[in-house]
């Protein structure tokens, strides 16, 4: 614990927390844009995916600053362990716990992504969906934990983040960005076979003749 005469660590913690939330909001939006194959000029699709990955790493850096400065600060009593184990903090137990939970979920996503080449594609994908759980918990954490120092711009910021991700999710569910018209590689519903109604039924199994046809070579 570091005791300083100025609350610089406290400000650092809050500032980096906000920046990391903003960055993760961008990461979520870019992730959804990757999945919905958004891209072309000026940003090709692979670049959207690459931006998503790099922004995520940057967000993790700011998140590390956020939790590091929080734990180091003696102004509030939050241990390093409380960062990853929900419920250990004495200061605002529930709100911090939310943050810890969001970090735990995020850790699963980040670690599997770093080890992506070594794990199965379906395992990676299933765990990656956890980000849809992690991000709202992080947002809730940000909302609840700042209630003692309420700035109106902070509210606007949070609402803005929520709006961005909500819009992206709605886009994902309702839009059809794939060239064929499907959202992911899901083909459209199967068409009906256009056959007139008086259809001949499938030939019934019949008895077979006991003589096979002799080959033409034999001159039959």
């Amino acid at each position: 614990m570091i005791a300083l005469s100025t609350p610089v660590l406290w400000y650092l913690s809050r500032a980096s927390g906000i920046v990391s939330l903003l960055l993760f909001t961008g990461v979520m939006a870019l992730g959804i844009m990757t999945a919905t194959r958004v891209g072309g000029r000026p940003l090709p699709r692979f670049a959207v995916a690459e931006l998503h990955r790099r922004l995520a790493l940057l967000a993790v850096v700011f998140l590390a600053i956020h939790v590091g400065s929080t734990a180091l600060d003696s102004y509030v009593n939050i241990s390093f362990l409380a960062i990853v184990v929900p419920g250990l903090s004495h200061y605002k137990a529930f709100d911090v716990a939310l943050g810890a939970l969001a970090i735990d979920l995020l850790l699963a996503v980040v670690i599997t992504s770093l080890l992506r080449q070594r794990i199965s594609a379906s395992a990676w994908r299933m765990i990656h969906w956890i980000s849809y759980l992690s991000w709202p918990i992080a947002l809730l954490h940000a909302f609840l934990i700042g209630t003692d120092v309420r700035y109106s711009w902070m509210d606007l910021l949070l609402v803005g983040c929520l709006a961005v991700v909500a819009a992206a999710v709605v886009w994902r569910i309702w839009a059809r960005p794939h060239p064929s018209g499907a959202l992911t590689a899901v083909p459209r519903a199967r068409g009906r076979v256009q056959a007139p109604s008086a259809q001949r039924p499938t030939p019934a199994v019949q008895s077979a003749p006991t003589k096979p046809i002799a080959s033409s070579r034999r001159g039959r």
């Binding site: 194959r37 699709r45 692979f46 995916a49 794939h178 992911t184």
Partner: protein
Amino acid sequence: MAVRLRVDPIRCDGFGHCAELAPELIALDEWGYPILTPEPLDATGRSLASTVIAQCPRKALFLETLERSEHLSRARR
């Protein structure tokens, strides 16, 4: 040892990153799915190939070693 680029069509979901990164090797059909060049890769091709293989969101691309330059036939059931 000749190699060529191949795709697992079941894993492929038509993201199209490969065609953006390596248009010399990969084109997209009208539905967004990759058409790969069947020729063995030269040195430039190989380095492009390793990039697209790493970048594919579904890990659908892979390298295939060619024993002889034979066309692999499918025995269907």
